[in-house]
Assembly symmetry: C2
Homo-oligomer: 204 residues x 2
DNA sequence: AACATCATGTAATCGGTTACATGATTCA
DNA sequence: TGAATCATGTAACCGATTACATGATGTT
């Protein structure tokens, strides 16, 4: 099955019931490097999932006047997660905008070349750091998505969970570091292509 | 600007005028690891690009009875490529179905775990080989998309082009090898999680 | 009083996927 | 004669992006 926003929601709601807003927050602060989604996507997917009976909506107070909606998994929703987990993984089509662009740096002005490559490297260096930090909070049991499960899982199961998540976030960090390294190699190649180019500014 | 099928077409038509079928073939056999597109996408994108005046359509004979359409870049199309090449690269949102799945292997039956991981590894090993071979045909000047340009570019420009493409395809191969290695590490972790699991069959 | 954050949504559009549909040409 | 390849498209659908839209609550 093709993985989509629906599965992200199923994954997060297994941890605990949440509002759409909380789903969007948890996605942004934690799952985003593996699977990203905007709040629009999440709210519309929640509506469909509720129609299909995979999630249930409860109304809660927010402040004095307003209401918010707390979603939780139904048994059908838990099943849907189990089914997804057992299916073959459908890979996404290859789409690599950076390397598609970089295949043409021989015809691109050097200032653009170095600007794009440096941005790429920096983005992945930061991502790697963020993922390594996340891996640590998993293994230490400090991650909010782990803490929410404490007491509701056996110690052994929780230990396996921590180690598995930490391992995957470390692998995602390794991937980001690979991308940064690849960017550096491409940069070195670009310097051979444009040996005379001297960047004027170093101000960031 | 967001990279899409349109840019793939602009890139390929810079080499030489082609039919939609040839664009789809060249994508499949060569560009696919960097950017993939189906023939449906290509035909519909060609229509839009023609409306916008970025490509021009000429009618040619196919066999006795039928006609085919050969598309070429207009000056506006060449400009659009130049603009795309000079813009900041807009990264795609992170979507990594394999690691999103693998973050849950602690709750997944071991036969599914090893089946999915092994498929992932094998797919990337094959991709890496394919990309290394492509890199070689670039550097040797044997690649069809290079040969089509011979005589229409200066020797130096052609040399830079060959080296740049070969470098990028080698980087894409390195990325595929990284993914295979990452898969192997995840597999090793899974063997710690499921020490008692013995696969019954080795028949592929 | 102003700003950040919490909280919820809709709508237009875009780009991509999948399935459907057709038929000629070429080679074994 | 049959299969592979060449060749072109349409249509329904899906999922994601972007912009629009609103308003309460909590903090400085």
């Amino acid at each position: 099955m093709t993985t989509s926003t629906r599965h992200l929601i199923l994954i997060l709601l297994r941890v605990q019931p949440m509002t759409g807003y909380e789903l969007a927050q948890n996605t942004k602060i934690s799952v985003d490097p593996l699977w990203s989604a905007t709040h629009s996507q999440i709210y519309t997917a929640l509506q469909k999932l509720e129609e299909e009976g995979l999630v249930a909506r409860e109304t809660a107070k927010r402040g004095e006047r307003m209401e918010k909606y707390v979603y939780s998994l139904t048994p059908a929703g838990r099943d849907a997660f189990r089914v997804w987990l057992r299916e073959p993984i459908k890979p996404l089509p290859n789409r690599d905008p950076f390397r598609l662009w970089a295949a043409h740096i021989d015809e691109c002005p050097p200032e653009v070349v170095f600007r794009n490559i440096d941005e790429y490297i920096q983005r992945h260096v930061e991502l790697a750091e963020r993922l390594d930090r996340a891996a640590l909070t998993f293994i230490r049991g400090e991650h909010p998505l782990i803490q929410a499960r404490m007491g509701r899982m056996s110690d052994e199961a929780l230990e396996r969970l921590k180690r598995t998540r930490a391992m995957i976030y470390r692998e995602a960090a390794a991937k980001a570091r690979f991308e940064a390294e690849s960017g550096r190699r491409i940069r070195a190649f670009a310097q051979e292509l444009y040996p005379d180019y001297e960047p004027n500014e170093y101000d960031d």
